[in-house]
Symmetry: C2
Subunit: 491 residues, 2 copies
Amino acid sequence: MSRRDIYEKLRARSKEIALVRGAANLLGWDQDTGMPKKGLAFRADQLAWLDGTAHRLWISADVGEWLAALRDSGEAWEAGPAANLREWERSYQRATRLPSSLVEEFARTRSMAREAWLEARRLSNFSHFEPLLERVVGLNRQMAYLWGYEDSPYDAFMDEFEPGAKAREMGPLLTRFGEAVSAILREMPARETVSLQGDCPIAAQQAFNRRVVEAIGFDFDAGRIDTTAHPFCSGIGPGDCRLTTRYNERDFTQSLFGALHEAGHGLYEQGLPEANFGEPLGSAVSLGIHESQSRLWENHVGRSLEFWERWFPVAADYFPHLKRFEPAQVWRAVNKPAPSFIRVEADEVTYDLHIVLRFELERSLIEGSLAVADAPARWNERFESLFGLKVPNDALGCLQDIHWSLGSFGYFPTYSLGNLNASQLFARALDEIPDLRPGLGRAEYQPLLGWLRRKIHSRGQLFRARDLMIDATGEPTHHRFHEAYLRAKYL
Amino acid sequence: MSRRDIYEKLRARSKEIALVRGAANLLGWDQDTGMPKKGLAFRADQLAWLDGTAHRLWISADVGEWLAALRDSGEAWEAGPAANLREWERSYQRATRLPSSLVEEFARTRSMAREAWLEARRLSNFSHFEPLLERVVGLNRQMAYLWGYEDSPYDAFMDEFEPGAKAREMGPLLTRFGEAVSAILREMPARETVSLQGDCPIAAQQAFNRRVVEAIGFDFDAGRIDTTAHPFCSGIGPGDCRLTTRYNERDFTQSLFGALHEAGHGLYEQGLPEANFGEPLGSAVSLGIHESQSRLWENHVGRSLEFWERWFPVAADYFPHLKRFEPAQVWRAVNKPAPSFIRVEADEVTYDLHIVLRFELERSLIEGSLAVADAPARWNERFESLFGLKVPNDALGCLQDIHWSLGSFGYFPTYSLGNLNASQLFARALDEIPDLRPGLGRAEYQPLLGWLRRKIHSRGQLFRARDLMIDATGEPTHHRFHEAYLRAKYL
C-alpha cells in the first residue's frame, strides 16, 4: 500500500470510531433527557458495548501497523494530515499502553468509589471515601507511569483533556491568577442589586431562550435544546448537536445562562469542518478551548450591558414582572459576586479560586506530596486563605465534586483555562472587529461568530491548544486578560 | 466445549446482536421524533453500520460451527432451548444463503425503487415505477430461490414476517374471509352518525391518551409516547418501549386510536420474558400475532360500547364540545364503515378487503402468473369486484403503498392475520374470563391483559404463530371469529 492508502485506512477507521461514539452519545443524551427509568440496566450494557467496540477498533493490530509504517517512512506531510497523524499517534499510545486488566480494575474501582463518595457526601464524612480515593489515586499514579510523562505525572492526565498542557506552566498561571482574583475581591465594593425572581413559566423561558440562542447563531436545523438536571452539550454527529438546560420557575436567568453556555459549546461543534468529521482535524482541540467558547457567549456576551440593553424589552414581554426595572439593573443583578463554598454555584469572580484550590490539591495527590488522609485539612486551610471563609464540613468542602471519584484528575484546570482563554479571545476580537461592542447592543453577533469560526472552530486540531491561542491572539494563555476583564467589570 | 457451552455461546451472540439492534432502534426512533434535519446523512451511515455489524455478528463462521455442532449431536433439548435453536437455525440459514453481492444489489435497487415510486405516485403514473418494480420482483424471485421453499416462492417471503406461514393456507383463508366481508357490506344498513369534530388541544389529547393507555396496563416507567407523522411502536430494550401517535387538533380520536393501537404492540413488548431478552424465546413470534395485540386493544376494547360508557365522561372533561352527546353516539361515530380507496384510511369492515387484493396480486407477481406491466389493470379490476368502486387513478390504486418499492412482499397478509387473530383471541378470552365485558365497562383491564400475558406475551417464540393460536384458542387462525365480530357489530 502507498503512504496515502495507509493514511486513508487510518482516516476511515477514525471516522468509523466517531460513528460508533456518536451512537453512544445519542444513547447517553437519551438516557438523560427521556429514557424510561426501567431502561437503565440495558442502556448501561449498550453503552459499555459501544465504548468497548470503539476502543477495540482503535487498539487493533492493524492500526498499530499503519501508524508504524507511516512513522518509519520519515517523510513530511502537509499540515492537515500531519496534525491527524500526530493526534492518532497520541491516542493510540494512550489507548494501548494500559493493559486491559488495569483498565478493568480502574472501571470497577471507579464504580465503587462513586458509591462511597455519594455516601460520604451524604454523611459529610471523608473517612467513608478515603480508602476508595486512596485506591483511585494509586491506580491513577500507575496509569501515569504507563502513559509516561516528562516532569510531572499530573501531565499524563492533563494530556487527556488538554493535550500538551504541562503542570509546570499551569501551576504558575493559576497561582498568579488566583492572587489577582484575591486582590479584586479585597478591593471590590459591596453592591446592592435587585431580585429578578418572579413568575417565569417554562414555556416562556423556552421561547425566550430559543430566540436568544438562535440570534447568536446556533442552527436549530442542526441541533435542539432539551431539559436535564445538569446542562450539557453533546455532539451526535455532523448536523446534529444537542444542548440541554434546566428551568427554575421563579428565575429565568438560570435556564438562559445555561442555554447560552451550552450554545457556546454548540457553536464550536457546529463550526468544526464537516468534511473532517471523525478525524482530529474535525474535532475540538481541548476542553480548555471548548470551555472558552461557552464562557465567551455566556459571560462576555450574555452578561454584558449591551446584551441587556438589547434583550431586556424582549425578556420583559415574556416575564412581565421585570417591567419595573431598567436594563442596567438587570445587568447588575446577573453580575453579583458572592463568595460561597460550592463551586458550581460560584459567580464569575470567585469561580476560578475554586479551581486554583482543586488544581493544587490534586496535583499534590498525584505527585505524592500530599497524603489522601490529609486532603480535607489541606482543603480547609487553603479555602480559608483564598476565600477568607471557614469550611463548616466536608460536604461543603472536599467532598462536593464528583470528579475525583471518577478518577478524572487533570480535568479541573480546563475550567479556568476556559475563563482565561475566553477573556483573551474576546479582548483580541474587540481589537480586530470594528464596532464589536455597539454591534452586540444591536444583537449583531455574526462578526464575532465569524471571527471565532475562522480563528478557532474551523481549525479543529490543526494546532494544539497552546499554538491555537498564539495563532489567534499572539501569545499563549495569559491571565492578565481575564484579570483586566474582571477589574473593569467589578471595580 | 460441551453442548451447553456451545448453546450459551449462541445465546450470548444472540443477545449481543439484540443490543446492537436496540441501539439502531433508538437511533431510528430519534430520527422520527426529534432529530434535527441536517443530521440525516450521518444517521443513515450510523444505521447502516449498526445493521451491518449485527448481520456480521450472526453470519460469522463461529455461529455456523456452533449450530452445526449442535445439529449433528442429534440430542433432544428441552422445549425452551429447542425453540431458540429452531429460530437461530432459521435466521442463520436466511442470513447466509444470500450472497452479499445480491444483498447489496437489492439495497441499491430498493433505494432507486423508492425514489421512482414516490415520483410515480406524485404523477399518478405507474410507468415511472414499472421498470424498477420489475427489477425488485426479479431480485425477490432470485432471493426466494436461494432461500428455498416447498410450494410457492411467496412462502419464502412470508417466512420473514410470519415464520412457517404458507401461501396454500393463507390463500383460502383470506379469500373466504374476503367473501364474508363482501357479504357483510352488501347487507349492512346505511347509518347516520354524529360528527365528533371540535376543539381538541394537543395537550388535552396527550393527557387523555396517557390516562387511557396507562389504564390498559402500559408501564410508563418502561416506556413513553411521542409524536410522529406515522405512528409506530419500537422496542428499544427491556424496560424501554416507545410508542408514537399523531394529532389532529379537530379530532381527538385519531391520536387516541393511534395510541391504543401502538400501546397494544407495546403491551406485547412489555410482556415478553425479560430474562430471555435477545433470544427468540424473548422475542415476538410474528407480525400477525403482534398486529393481533394492537388490533385487540384498538378495536375490541377501544371501539367497544363498554369503553365509551366508561371513558366518555373523562373525554368530555378534556373536550367539552362532546358534552352534547351520549356515550352510544360517540361509540357509533367511531365505528362508521365507509368503503374508500386508501388502505390506511380504511375502517374496520373494509380494511381486510384491501389486504385480500394486495395478497392476491403480490402472490401472482412473485409466482410469475402476473406480469408487472399488468398489475394496475388487475388491481383496478379486482378493486371494483371487491368494493364496487372504480379506481380513478393509480395514486389511489396500485401506487398507494410503499411496501413493494421496499421489496417487502409477504408483509401485507400479516395485517389481516392480525385482525383475524385479534377476534379469535378476544372470543376465547370472553369464554374463559368471567364477566370480561362488564369489567371493561369499569375499566378493569387486568383480567384481559393477564390472559394475554399468559397465552401470548410470556411465550415469546416458544411456539410458531400457528401453534401458539392452537394453544391459546384450540385451533389455527380461522376467519369465522372476525366475521362473527363484524356481523354482531355492524348488522
